[in-house]
């Protein structure tokens, strides 16, 4: 049982209890216990095949667990999906090439019958938030990879979800763009107040973005350890730097990265 399950609010953003997921003979997830508080930023990290993407998909109700329960915002995952309580961003931006950038951001609202004027306004607001207001009328094909991912994030935020699910959204980007996008994401998450469950391969990325880093190991996929992240502003009492750039150069950051690395190595044995 995870030690951090202590400060559970009455309605956590995400709550996984004894979750197993089996694909045929393979046990992709085993005995997963995890809780996310409102506004918390949690990363899932581990080697290929450790089940982190599967875990995210289970929370999104894109897969159903073979055992255990999944609650999102106090509701079962399925209901949360039907009520559109979360937004999701995939590794490929998944933008619809025949729609303009603004129309892509509007998609969740369009699907749910929101009126045109309201959709337009919300999309404009979101594009402003991700810094792409000038590209509202462009087609996805005209945008760079990083920009497309920003549109995908804006789309995920369209229904004003309390939870953001992200599956290695920056995986296909180069290092510089990646770091810029991390700063952007932190700002967006703070401004929207959403909780974030973030899957990544990159240790520094996990540490710099998160309140907590959940380390997973494969065969079967399970959580081995949870390490404190270095999300800027998380420890207000310690006068932590508020700038992502500065965070990456603190001793505490390096210590956390080392801790995660150790945890991953341990899990490997």
């Amino acid at each position: 049982m995870s030690e951090l399950a202590s400060a559970k609010s009455a309605r956590s953003a995400v709550e996984l209890d004894g979750v197993d997921k089996r694909f045929g003979d393979v046990l992709a997830l085993s005995g997963i216990e995890l809780t996310l508080d409102d506004g918390e930023f949690v990363s899932l990290i581990g080697p290929s095949g450790c089940g982190k993407s599967t875990l995210l998909r289970v929370v999104a109700d894109l897969e159903q667990p073979t055992a255990g329960t999944v609650q999102v915002g106090g509701k079962p995952a399925r209901q949360a999906r039907l009520d559109q309580d979360y937004g999701i961003a995939f590794q490929q931006s998944g933008l619809l090439e025949w729609r303009t950038v603004a129309e892509n951001v509007e998609l969740p609202l369009h699907v749910h019958g929101v009126g045109k004027a309201e959709r337009r306004a919300r999309a404009a607001e979101l594009l402003e938030l991700v810094g792409l207001a000038d590209f509202a009328g462009s087609r996805p094909a005209q945008l760079s990879g990083g920009m497309q991912q920003r549109v995908a994030i804006a789309r995920a935020l369209a229904p004003q979800p309390k939870l953001l699910l992200m599956d290695e959204p920056f995986g296909a980007l180069d290092e510089m763009t990646r770091e810029r996008m991390q700063a952007e994401l932190l700002r967006i998450a703070r401004e929207s107040g959403a909780a974030v469950l973030f899957v990544t391969h990159s240790i520094p990325e996990a540490v710099v973005l998160s309140d907590r880093v959940v380390v997973m190991t494969p065969r079967p996929g399970r959580i081995t350890e949870v390490v404190d992240g270095r999300r800027p502003g998380r420890d207000a009492a310690e006068l932590e730097p508020d700038d992502v750039e500065d965070v990456r150069e603190t001793a505490a950051f390096f210590a956390a990265v080392t801790a995660v690395r150790e945890a991953l190595r341990k899990g490997h044995q």
Binding site: A60, L82, G94, L96, A141
Partner: protein, 245 residues
Amino acid sequence: MVAPLALGLLVLVVWHLVVVAFAVPAFLLPTPLAIAQQFVAQFPVILSTAAVTGGNALVGLIAGFLIGLVLAVLAASSRLIAELTTPVVLAASAIPIVALAPVFTIMFGSTTEIARQLVVTVVVIVPVFVSAARGLRAVAPVHGDLMTSLAATPWQRARFVRLPGAVPYVMTGLRLAAPAAVIASVVAEYFGGLQNGLGSRITSAAANTAYARAWAFVVASIVLGLLFHLGGTLVERLVTRGRPA
């Protein structure tokens, strides 16, 4: 661009010289010049007959396109319908559909163009159905997941992802079908019926040993085919502009 033009010119010149030098009889091959002369001389007739052949091709193209599209949508929405239509379309792609021309002539009469238009329609249905069916099936996994995460109904999936996603495929089908429509239209004329199209002119000119004239009509039908091909390509480009290649 230069190489094909140069080759074409070379071929024309050599062709002309060979025919003249070896006194090749006209029934075998007239000179390009003779053909060009006939083309110019017969131009009004060429236009009127091309209009008929082209008109049949166009009617069949539009009808076949609409029917092929509807069939593909039906096949995409029901596994049973897909299983029933696929063998029929597969068979249709193998059999000589133009051989149905006499049958249609009997059924619909030999005094209108309906029989030929019907042949073209059936010929067009095949590539349009195949392309459209493929397009409706081709949903990227990430788009599928996206729609699931948005709790979309099957109709919403179709409306927001499958149908717009299928458009490039459908347009490719149209592009492939357009010249096929002309070919079918010309060939259907070889099976009798009204004698007012390009195909019939070719046969009658050949029968009257007016070979250069026959070749002129052949050239006209080639041009007609190219025009439809161009038209189909243009429509495809126009409809899919803004999308990545």
